[in-house]
């Protein structure tokens, strides 16, 4: 992973000024695409991701249709202009892997048994990438599902932690991701304290892994607050304390 020995920390702070447990700025907008059943747009660090939900709708091909529940299909993609060297428009192996584990991360949260024989399709495209795209995409997708009115047990926030210069840190930026010693993206169901997505590469002792996992969950809780804020934003002014009508 670490090729050059580029200094990533200085006097306990990271190059972008953050402390080890500090997250990059994050902002989510619910209901971004008019022509989707549900949608969300996220800006997180330098990441920009748009997520649309179509469904529940009839599931084709027929052999993928379940008589008991809805199929959750998440498709993640990087737009060609989202990275430094223009990316090939066709989905890469990385895109396909992320799509699969992200679909699985969302399954537990959705009441799929409500919609037998259907599919719930989520499409997330990264239009600007800056490390942590898969957790940004998943966090936006979760808001998009709620926006579509799909019944869920909980929202699904996601966040990544890693290790740079032997320090466990939250929310790696581009340089830290490339030059760091480990990367651990995680998706989390807050009310059940359950992890539904977890991947890791790098080099972590079991103690460091535990520390990184706990820190990732903390990060997820911060993302969760932003997800809730985004959903409340549109209707906050309508809430009222008094009873009427």
């Amino acid at each position: 992973m670490a090729k050059k020995t580029k200094k990533l920390m200085k006097k306990g702070k990271r190059l972008d000024g953050r402390k080890p447990d500090e997250m990059r700025p994050i902002k989510i907008k619910a209901g971004y695409v008019k022509r989707a059943d549900g949608s969300a747009y996220i800006e997180w660090g330098g990441n920009k991701v748009v997520a649309s939900v179509h469904g529940p709708r009839t599931c084709y091909p027929r052999h993928e249709r379940s008589p008991y529940k809805a199929r959750i299909q998440f498709k993640y993609k990087l737009a060609p202009f989202s990275v430094d060297d223009r990316a090939n428009p066709a989905p890469s192996r990385r895109d396909k892997e992320i799509s699969k584990v992200s679909s699985e991360a969302l399954e537990k949260a959705v009441f799929t048994e409500y919609y037998p024989k259907t599919t719930i399709d989520i499409y997330a495209t990264v239009i600007e990438a800056a490390a942590g795209t898969r957790v940004a995409a998943l966090s936006a997708a979760s808001v998009a599902l709620a926006d579509a009115g799909i019944p869920m047990r909980d929202l699904v926030p996601a966040c990544a932690t890693g290790k740079i210069e032997d320090t466990v840190v939250l929310d790696l930026n581009k340089d830290e991701d490339q030059e760091g010693q480990a990367d651990l993206p995680v998706a989390y169901l807050p009310h059940n304290d359950e992890i539904t997505l977890m991947q890791m590469d790098g080099d972590l002792t079991p103690e460091e892994y535990e520390e990184a996992l706990d820190l990732a969950v903390d990060g997820c809780m911060k993302v969760y607050e932003e997800q809730k804020r985004a959903l409340r934003e549109r209707y906050e002014h309508i809430e009222q304390e008094t009873e009427e009508e």
């Binding site: 549900g38 579509a148 047990r153």
Partner: protein, 204 residues
């Protein structure tokens, strides 16, 4: 009282079926399944989702579009991920492809196979589609909202529980715009007044 609820959020009040129960240690927590608005009146709560897809429910009265003519009946599009079948003896006329009909949902089984009853064809008029979650608002308490619209525009209106609305005659453009406004502002306070003002003045 009205409060926004998010999926997974704990609900203290008594609420309708849009909640689920989860064991937390020795206690059970009641949580919202939906992104919606929780209305509370006299200790009773009701969650109205912000948006929803129409799923057929027994006894619902809806508007369907004939999508296929078969021997013995018709396949009807319900504005839902599920289609349904209407047998010819439940149809009040011979239908053609694209005919608009009002129908009642009969039995719905666990895999959402749906039977239909009481087909009645619509003649003329226009159909619009809105978010099925707000059809109740279009009708209003004791049909107050829809009666007001009918009175002020002279249109004939039929509201299907599946989010489809049939409008004929009168100032149908105004009727449509009024319904669109209700859809946009479904949870706002004093909606009836706002719509009344719009219908009387043509603006709001």
């Amino acid at each position: 009282m009205k409060k926004i609820v998010i999926p997974g959020e704990k609900i203290e009040e008594k609420a309708n079926g849009e909640t689920y129960r989860e064991k937390k240690g020795k206690k059970t927590e009641k949580r919202s399944k939906r992104y919606g608005m929780l209305y509370k009146n006299n200790g009773r709560g009701k969650i109205i989702p912000m948006k929803t897809k129409y799923i057929p429910q027994k006894r619902d009265k809806i508007i369907g579009v004939v999508s296929s003519v078969k021997y013995g009946g018709y396949v009807v599009d319900l504005n839902s991920p599920y289609d349904a079948f209407l047998s010819t003896d439940e149809a009040d006329d011979e239908y053609k492809l694209k005919d608009l009909i009002s129908i009642e949902i009969g039995d719905v089984d666990e895999v959402k196979d749906t039977s239909l009853r009481n087909g009645r064809k619509f003649y003329g008029g226009n159909m619009i589609e809105i978010n099925p979650a707000v059809t109740e608002r279009v009708i209003g308490k004791n049909a107050s909202m829809i009666s007001m619209i009918k009175e002020k525009t002279g249109s004939k209106i039929f509201v299907g529980a599946n989010g489809r609305i049939w409008i004929k005659g009168g100032d149908s453009r105004k009727t449509e715009k009024a319904i669109e406004k209700i859809e946009e502002q479904a949870h706002e306070t004093g909606l009836t007044e706002k719509i009344k003002k719009y219908l009387e003045q043509g603006s709001d």
